[in-house]
Symmetry: C2
Subunit: 187 residues, 2 copies
DNA sequence: AGGCAAGCATGATGATCATCATATAACATC
DNA sequence: GATGTTATATGATGATCATCATGCTTGCCT
């Protein structure tokens, strides 16, 4: 049957939201169309009325996850006195490590993005946008190399969360997060 | 038919080698048993004479990839005057970025490891072993915080390679590698 | 030398998956 | 208020995959 147009837009949003969540939780291959649709409260058949393919969904889901990440960084910059320190505390905290499903798409999907022709473009834009935000909104001790340091901080933070999640030993995992947080705080 | 025992051992090795390569190239889900066996010069049926499951193969393939990585670090330490710098030049070089299939398993599989119950144990051991090697064999400027700095360098290097691979823009990708290489050289 | 069993190939099995086909029923438009 | 359109559900399709079943052949051991 047919449904009101306002509902349709909400359902589209819900599919995207659940896709962004499930992709980060299980990977692009690990989350199926049917599972995503069910999480959005629909059945699999309705999917192709909203997206042309699973690849297209990947593209939009990555965009969505980056938009979320960027708005968080923006919130840190306006609500805290030291945005860089707030970023480090949040990004390298246990909560982020333990909840990849609504965390940073770089840490959750990095290597899979490199293999996904659909996701690389929005990913590249997302990384550039985040970097620009870090360069302009964080307070850097050495202004002349702010961009280099932003790339450094971002890389180290992403790598640390990936290692902390992959590792089997909780103390070691905590050590990784704490070490990188301390090391980056002085930049 | 039956085959000589020496041949069998070589085939086992070949399966492991191709698995470690294909997993890093396409991910655990992206590389199928049949494809791995074909790459090893066999058919899919022979697989279960060598491994009890694909999960078991993942476990051993991760072990193998880490052994390879460790022997490379060891070689750097014995053949160069500045092992840390040699590591940075190699790990953050274009060759490593462009050839995930025989590069570092952390950068190629990080987030997927976190979701794989089979791979987390060997991964954890591998990371610990690499870190120990870095702490003891690299020349650190500040000896008191060598371990913290080793964790920092490893995280930043892993993150940088993951981002450099995922990004669509070659100049941006090069910039990531060069920035992190420069930033880490002073530790 | 002869029998046993190991290692491999071929092919089957059942599950899972992305995508497509079709029918339905209500919305939007005139 | 009639009509065409649209979002959805159900179900089909064909591909892919891990794993299992079977049988052959030949190395290995007695």
């Amino acid at each position: 049957m047919r449904y009101p147009a306002s509902e349709t837009a909400k359902k589209h949003e819900r599919i995207l939201k659940e896709a962004a969540r499930l992709f980060r939780e299980r990977g692009f291959d690990g989350a199926g169309v049917a599972e995503i649709m069910e999480a959005a409260g629909l059945t699999h058949g309705a999917f192709y009325a909203h997206f042309t393919s699973k690849d297209a969904l990947q593209t939009e889901a990555v965009e969505r996850a980056f938009a979320q990440a960027n708005s968080r960084i923006y919130a840190l910059a306006t609500n805290t006195s030291d945005a860089k320190q707030a970023f480090l505390d949040s990004y390298l905290g246990r909560a982020h490590r333990n909840h990849a499903q609504d965390g940073c798409p770089m840490a959750a999907l990095g290597p899979e993005i490199a293999r996904s022709s659909a996701a690389r473009k929005p990913f590249t834009q997302g990384v550039k946008h985040i970097l620009d935000g870090m360069v302009s909104r964080f307070r850097w001790k050495r202004k002349g190399i702010a961009r280099r340091n932003a790339i450094h901080v971002l890389s180290a933070a992403v790598g640390a969360v990936i290692l902390a999640r992959a590792v089997d030993d909780p103390r070691f995992s905590d050590e990784i997060l704490a070490s990188v947080r301390d090391a980056l705080a002085s930049l």
